[in-house]
Every structure is written in structure tokens, then in C-alpha cells.
């Protein structure tokens, strides 16, 4: 049987384990082990050796990220933030962990904060996740009552306060420097890097931001060791991954599988294949800001390197499936509407470019597009690409557009030459 460390305690439809049930199932063992028997450096060492990479989208090595935090200075505050903003369209994996096993995240935060010698930790959760907020509040209360948060945890001389911050709906707050700005109670504009948050983050203090799923792996690495973790994956990466699928598949959902599971297996076995009457045209493998993969690319293993080699990104690992009955241009228009709306407005290419892109796509959908628009769209893919804007929002927006212009060249041209959207009723089906 494949191991499912992250979701093993989750029972769909049932309330999450409370502290006692969580402990009966082996919970808070990693906290004991780390705080009572390991130095912070040893915990960081295990995470580094495990090869754990960030599950928030960029895939940065977690141990490496942590290693940039300077040595603690007496009296200095240091922060760890669990990023539970999860607003990327098509992404619903962290919600599963937040709602299904909130104590796992609390323990993950305590162990990771100990490794980083953080004095304060935050869980930054999107405000719309009402159930997650209620369950986390309960879990934090139970953990505090048991002495797992607060001063002198387990008598180990380590203190941590954990705060839950409910946001108010703004995608850019998921970007780690914008998130820190939001926590300071300011307009959540991203910040320039360097300085990196590990050196100068929240209120100028050393800070680490990690995705919820990334952190939830840490207690399991502490319990079972880095070699065990590496062995969970199929290809070069270690661990499991929460993969998901939405769109016209038979059983949309999220599943914890060995990282490196082929896309075909996720679609055909776990999502049950396409719904009756729908054929697969293409998919975004890891959320709205990843490039399209074609129906001929299903044999790709879903690990970081393989998806990148195929021209896309693993991203969040939750795929969005485009079927043959929905208009690809309409889908891209929908995506660019999202990115244009959620641009923070700080830098010109993104603030002005994205609405322009959206309007051109809208014109194509309405039959008012011209050949020149296709060239303009292509030009924007370059103008808003990596390195041209202040943060990765605009390049993310260009991923589905750039790949879409290539993969759906013919469909784009049809919109121009037929002066209409060839799909009956666009997405209205």
C-alpha cells in the first residue's frame, strides 16, 4: 500500500481528529522528538537531507530556504509563517489539510519554528476558508491548553506564540513578501528582493514563509527520517504530493500520491477519466499560472523537473482540465480576467498590460479580433515575462497565454477569420 503521511488521518465527511485523537494516531511525537532530543540544527539538517521542496508553487528547497536565516541574536524576534492563502484558481489542496487535520499543521508549525528558533508564528489563511478558520482556532486552543504552544513548551525551554491571521481576499497576498506586508497592516504590495525575508522580513526581522503542505511534511520527516521520505517519491523528488483535478472529469478531487506519479494515472485512475461526451483537449498541470500541456503529454511524471522539461511547471499540483466543448480562447480570457483584476498595480507592465490582454481576448471572443491582435498578444507574453515585472504575478499570467497561443493557434485564428467564437455559447454549456 502506498503511504499517505499527510492525509492518513483525514476521514472525508467526518470532523477532524481533536488533540487526543491526533495523539492516539501518533500525533505530537515529532514535536517531542525534536524539542526534547534534537537540536534545531539537527531538524534543519534532516529537512535538508530529505530533499523536501516547496509545495507553494516555486519548488524551492525547504532546507536551503531555511539555511539563509541568520543565527539567532538574543532578544531578537524571528518569524515563521504558514501560507494558507490558497487563492490560485483551480487550487484546493491546502484546504484539505487545514480542514481535515488542523493539529498536523499546528505540530508542523511548532517543529519548524523550533528548527528556525522562531519566537512567533503565523498561519495566514484566506478569510473565505471559514471552516478551516474555525477548526484551526479550535486546534490552537487545544494545543495551547496542553502546553504545546506558549512559554517553555514540554519543559524544553522553547517558547512560541502562534497567531491565526484571516485575510480579506486578495490573491497577491499569497506572494510571500506581499503576505508579510499584509501582516504589517499595510497595502499588500510585494517587496523587492534582496533583502530576502529570511534576513529582513516581518517588521524587518528574519522571517520564513512556507506553504501549508510543505510544512505538514516536516513532522513526518522528523519521525521517520530523510531516507524514508526520499523513498516515498517515484522519481528524483522525495515525498508524496497532493495532486488534484477539476473540470469535466468523472471524479474531480485531490489525492495524496507519490511525487512523480504520471499525469495519465492521475487523470485516468484517480479522476476517473473524462466525463461521458467530453474529450481532453489540454490541461494546466498546477494551477492557473502554469503553462498548458497537451493531451499528447499525459505520460509526463508529475515531478518538478519533468514538468519543467515539458514546458510547464508542477506549480501547486492541482490540474485544471480543458475539454473539447469549451472554448480555449474563452478559458484564457477567464484566466487573464483573474490576473488583471488581482494585479496589485505597482508596476506598469502588469497593471496596464494585463487589462489590455484581457480586452484583446474579449474582442476575439466577441468576433472583433484582428490578426494584429494575435501578434500583440504574443508581444505581451514577452513584455510581461519573467524579469520584466516586480514580482512573479505577471509572468504567471503569461504562462497559460503564451502556451495557449502556441497550442491553440488554429482556434485563435478561427476567432479572427470567422468573426465570432466558433464554440456555441462559449463556456455556457
Amino acid at each position: 500500500m502506498t503511504e499517505r503521511p499527510l492525509t492518513g488521518r483525514i476521514r472525508p465527511g467526518a470532523p477532524p481528529p481533536d488533540r487526543e485523537a491526533y495523539e492516539r494516531a501518533g500525533g505530537y511525537q515529532a514535536m517531542r522528538r525534536a524539542l526534547l532530543h534534537m537540536t534545531p540544527e539537527e531538524v534543519v539538517g534532516d529537512v535538508t537531507k530529505s530533499g523536501l521542496r516547496g509545495r507553494g508553487g516555486a519548488g524551492f528547497g525547504t532546507g536551503q530556504k531555511w539555511s539563509f536565516v541568520p543565527k539567532p541574536k538574543p532578544g531578537q524576534r524571528r518569524y515563521l509563517v504558514a501560507n494558507a492563502d490558497e487563492m490560485e484558481p483551480g487550487t484546493f489542496k491546502d484546504r484539505l489539510l487545514l480542514e481535515g487535520d488542523p493539529h498536523q499543521l499546528v505540530e508542523a508549525v511548532v517543529v519548524s519554528a523550533y528548527a528556525l528558533q522562531a519566537t512567533d508564528a503565523y498561519i495566514f489563511v484566506r478569510g473565505e476558508y471559514k471552516l478551516a478558520i474555525a477548526r484551526l482556532t479550535q486546534a490552537i486552543g487545544e494545543a495551547t491548553a496542553a502546553g504545546y504552544l506558549g512559554t517553555d513548551i514540554l519543559g524544553a525551554g522553547y517558547a512560541l506564540s502562534l497567531h491565526l491571521h484571516a485575510s480579506a481576499g486578495r490573491y497577491i497576498c499569497g506572494e510571500e513578501t506581499a503576505l508579510l506586508t499584509a501582516l504589517e497592516g499595510r497595502r499588500a504590495l510585494p517587496r523587492s528582493k534582496p533583502p530576502f525575508p529570511q534576513v529582513s522580513g516581518l517588521w524587518g526581522a528574519p522571517s520564513v514563509v512556507n506553504n501549508v503542505e510543505t510544512l505538514c511534511n516536516v513532522p513526518h520527516i522528523v519521525n521517520n527520517g530523510p531516507e524514508w521520505f526520499k523513498g516515498l517519491g517515484i522519481g528524483p523528488d522525495g515525498g508524496t504530493k497532493l495532486y488534484g483535478m477539476s473540470g469535466r472529469v468523472r471524479r474531480p478531487g485531490a489525492w495524496e500520491l507519490p511525487i512523480g506519479t504520471p499525469l495519465r494515472e492521475i487523470l485516468e485512475e484517480h479522476a476517473g477519466g473524462m466525463q461521458e461526451g467530453y474529450r481532453l483537449r489540454a490541461l494546466l498541470p498546477g494551477g492557473a499560472s502554469t503553462a498548458f500541456l497537451g493531451a499528447d503529454q499525459l505520460d509526463i511524471p508529475m515531478d518538478y523537473g519533468s514538468v519543467e522539461k515539458a514546458g510547464s511547471r508542477l506549480g501547486t499540483g492541482t490540474a485544471i482540465v480543458l475539454d473539447d466543448r469549451a472554448c480555449p480562447v474563452g478559458m484564457i480570457r477567464n484566466l487573464e480576467h483573474f490576473f488583471a483584476q488581482e494585479s496589485c498595480g505597482w508596476c506598469t507592465p502588469c497593471r496596464d498590460g494585463l487589462p489590455w490582454v484581457e480586452r484583446m481576448l474579449q474582442a476575439l471572443e466577441e468576433g472583433d479580433g484582428e490578426d494584429e491582435d494575435l501578434a500583440q498578444l504574443q508581444r505581451h507574453v514577452g513584455l510581461l515575462g519573467m524579469g520584466k515585472t516586480f514580482c512573479a504575478h505577471a509572468p504567471g499570467a503569461m504562462a497559460p497565454l503564451g502556451s495557449g497561443l502556441q497550442k491553440f493557434r488554429e482556434e485563435f485564428a478561427q476567432h479572427v477569420h470567422q468573426h465570432r467564437c466558433p464554440w456555441p455559447a462559449g463556456g455556457l454549456h
Partner: protein, 167 residues
Amino acid sequence: MSTAETLADSASETLPDALREEIRLLGQHEAHPRAACIEALQRVQREFRWVSDAHLREVAGLLGMSAADLDGVATYFNLIFRRPVGRRVLLLCDSVSCWLMGRERLEAHLSARLGIRPGQTTPDGDVTLLPTVCLGHCDHAPALMLGDALHGDVDTQKLDAILEAAG
């Protein structure tokens, strides 16, 4: 009275003392009081449904911010309402998975049923219809939130039932 006037009713009053005290304490718990501003605005909204100019000024004062500074933060967030909203806010997801699963039809149905376009409030002040970004419920697309309740796999029939049950 216009819709706007019906909705704006109580918003010119000063904040109740208990809420003022609560917001002051929220600020005190932070190393920098302004860090509490989103939570403070959310509390005001829980009581009054939206944040009026008068209330914004009061919160700013309690947290040692200028009103302009706080308004800059407030208007940045999709779910801090700086205009009156109805008794119930319906957030209809307009992101990609819901679009693929037919959310346009739900929007058309809602507009016809309620007689309003997205962004508007019914004349009786009952429902405000707002498009929203992905609710993280894409495996049950199309999805919406009515107040704090999340609904998935919504079709027009289910939509009618949701509106009536919560009516």
C-alpha cells in the same frame, strides 16, 4: 428611499463602546497596532455589514493610523466593503474551474431571478451579488458562498433552493 439609503442606515452612528474597546485591545496585542487593522475592519463589518467613512475614521484613530492610510488598506482587499451591501452577500465564483463547469449560466439565472447585475444589491436590500475569485472548492465547481456558507456542485435548481432556504 433609494436602495443606498436603506442600506446606509446605521453607518453614520459611532461604533458601540464595546467594539471600540475590542479594537483598541486588538491593537494593543500587536507590537505595532496597525497590524490589527484588517481584523478590526472585519469586526466592524460583522456588526454593520460594511465600513462607512465615519467608522473607518474611528478605527484609524483607535489604531494610530490616518484615515487615508487605513482607507488605502481597506480598499485593497476584495472583501472589505466600503459601500453598503445587502443583508446577505452572495459570492459567486468566476474563476476558471467554475467557468468550465458552467458558472455563466448561474450568473444569468441569478441576475434574472434577483433583477440585478453582479455588483448590485436587490432594491429591498436583501441580497448583494458579487463575483469572487476561486473559492478553493473547484472539485465541486461551480461554487458559491452565501454569507459564511459554502455551496458546491450548484445548478440552477440548487441555487433556488439555497436562496429560499436561507431567505
